[in-house]
């Protein structure tokens, strides 16, 4: 039995039908479905222990605080951070990146300093830097993407210079599925004197991540793409970098003492968690981490690699279909983008939806990458623990029928 078949029973939503057809959910890179263990943890928290954290002197408050902080410890171990102070809970990846932009980059960077990004970034890792660059007169530079959909690292020596203060890069492309060689880039960037921030939104669901081994300075990811609820994410920051920083937002929780004319800051990590944090979200994230760890990375990686190889083979067999990203399944995760020439991705997605197949279509919040590829968008199928080879077969069959409806007979019969 494949991992997908084994875990499907844990995801009740997969029993749903769409207009009488079984749901085939291939949009996990947008958000993953939640296993029962996560939903149970949320329910138990709200039914038994719900209270505000850190300042409630009563049993529920203490329980809630313990659960919240235990989730932090679990996340710390999950991503290989050395210290719990390095794990800041945020709303998600976007907020985590913005916290770095506001707290570290804004005071640290000066006019003419450079931030090195790549052409495959999600808008979440572009717009905060575009805003800061405008404000601080910074220069943004970009690692190019090759025709194969990988970073052109030959350009790195040219791009990394004396003025490069930050390299902000995605670990895995949300469009192409490409896994970037983060460890190598971190080494070269830090040798050039730059800090490195990695957007791990698409990596954490698919790959074991060890921030200490990678040597990154900052790492951002979201809970909801790995089975946790929406509204919880993580910013990892090396302790010695976070320690001197001031908070991004004012509010409670981030303070040590407040007077009418001044304020002193709380310790890490709470200095960066203003207001009531997403307590249940953190508990849910802890449960999602536990769920993933119980399945084991070896099984998860094998499952993802098998699905990716299967998808690349089956979609690659569909003559006339444009496939994006590297053809080698070893350098990518289960995120596959394609186009039926002449058919807009939204039309293709709507036709697939009529068969119960949920995919993502459009620019995927990566418009510069779309321009680089010379397209308006793609249709994207993305996998998670519960995806099966049958889902991929259904997608391919759906594509052929969509071509009959919308296409101009471009897809030829399968060679299989």
């Amino acid at each position: 039995m494949t991992l997908g078949e084994r875990v499907r029973a844990d995801f009740s939503i997969l029993q749903r039908t769409i207009d009488g057809r079984p749901l085939i959910y291939l949009d996990s890179a947008a958000t993953a479905q939640k296993p029962r263990a996560v939903l149970d943890a949320l329910r138990t928290f709200y039914e038994r222990s719900n209270a505000n954290v850190h300042r409630s002197i009563h049993t529920l408050g203490e329980e809630a605080t313990e659960l919240f902080e235990a989730a932090r410890d679990r996340v710390r171990a999950f991503i290989g951070a050395r210290h719990r102070e390095e794990i800041v809970f945020t709303k998600g990846t976007t907020e985590a990146i913005n916290v770095v932009a506001h707290t570290w980059a804004r005071p640290a960077l000066e006019e003419g300093d450079e931030i090195l990004l790549s052409e495959m970034e999600h808008h979440s890792n572009l717009v905060p830097w575009l805003l800061l660059a405008r404000e601080r007169r910074l220069r943004l530079r970009y690692i190019p993407v090759t025709e194969d959909g990988v970073l052109d690292l030959r350009a790195l020596d040219r791009l990394l210079g004396r003025r490069t203060r930050l390299v902000a890069l995605t670990h895995v492309s949300n469009v192409l599925g490409t896994i970037n060689p983060v460890a190598e880039i971190v080494e070269r960037a830090q040798a050039a004197g730059a800090r490195v921030l990695i957007d791990g939104a698409q990596a954490v669901p698919h790959l074991p991540v060890d921030v200490a081994a990678l040597g990154v300075d900052f790492y951002a990811f979201s809970g909801h793409k790995m089975g946790a609820p929406t509204g919880i994410g993580v910013l990892y920051g090396r302790r010695e970098i976070l320690e001197p920083l001031e908070p991004a937002f004012g509010g409670s929780e981030i303070i040590r003492e407040v007077w009418l004319d001044r304020v002193t800051w709380n310790d890490l990590p709470w200095r960066f968690e203003p207001g009531t944090p997403p307590i249940a979200g953190a508990v849910g994230l802890g449960a999602a981490v536990a769920y993933v760890e119980a399945l084991g990375w070896e099984a998860i990686r094998a499952h993802d690699a098998e699905l990716t190889a299967e998808a690349l083979a089956q979609l690659g067999d569909v003559e006339g279909l444009d496939l994006y990203g590297p053809r080698d399944p070893d350098v990518r995760v289960g995120v596959v983008s394609f186009n039926l020439p002449g058919v807009h991705p939204h039309d293709l997605a709507a036709a697939l939806d009529a068969e119960g197949i949920a995919v993502r279509a459009g620019h995927h919040c990566a418009q510069p990458l779309m321009r680089r590829l010379g397209i308006v968008g793609t249709t994207r199928a993305s996998f998670y623990l519960y995806t099966t080879p049958e889902d991929i077969a259904a997608l391919v069959a759906g594509l052929r029928r969509a071509d009959e409806l919308l296409g101009l007979g471009r897809l030829r019969p399968s060679a299989r």
């Binding site: 807009h344 709507a350 036709a351 009529a354 068969e355 779309m370 308006v376 968008g377 919308l406």
Partner: protein
């Protein structure tokens, strides 16, 4: 065709016909007015060019559109062009969403309504630009 009713209702015969056999797709040699805009939700882009006869009751002589857009938006642009070509500009600006929706004969869900209205907004902006230029 093994589709359920759902996709047939969205991609009506009118939409499929206009998408596969557009009547007004293209560009004009010397347009008097033109506008281009995107749908921020999806990045779709539509450009509409208009040639107007002079005079206060300017008649729309020709309309052409281009775009990187979905079948619904392209069909909407094609129908709009048909509705306004040969009409006085004042009358043409009264074509509205409901008239286009009726012509599309499709079950357009709220998430796709913007696909229908993008060409309409672009066309109106083109005419408004012409008025300003005059």
């Amino acid at each position: 065709m093994c589709y359920g009713g759902r996709v047939d209702r969205l991609y009506s015969d009118v939409i499929l016909d206009r998408f596969k056999h557009p009547r007004y797709f293209g560009e004009l040699d010397a347009p008097d007015a033109a506008h281009e805009d995107v749908n921020p939700l999806c990045g779709d882009r539509v450009r509409i060019e208009v040639r107007l006869e002079g005079g206060p009751s300017a008649e729309i002589e020709a309309v052409r559109y281009r775009g990187d857009a979905c079948a619904i938006a392209l069909a909407s642009a094609d129908l709009l062009a048909e509705m306004v070509e040969g009409r006085p500009a004042g009358e043409a600006t009264r074509v509205d969403r409901d008239r286009l929706l009726a012509a599309l004969q499709a079950d357009i869900r709220p998430s796709r309504l913007r696909c229908v209205t993008l060409p309409l907004d672009v066309f109106r902006a083109a005419l408004a630009g012409f008025e300003v230029a005059r």
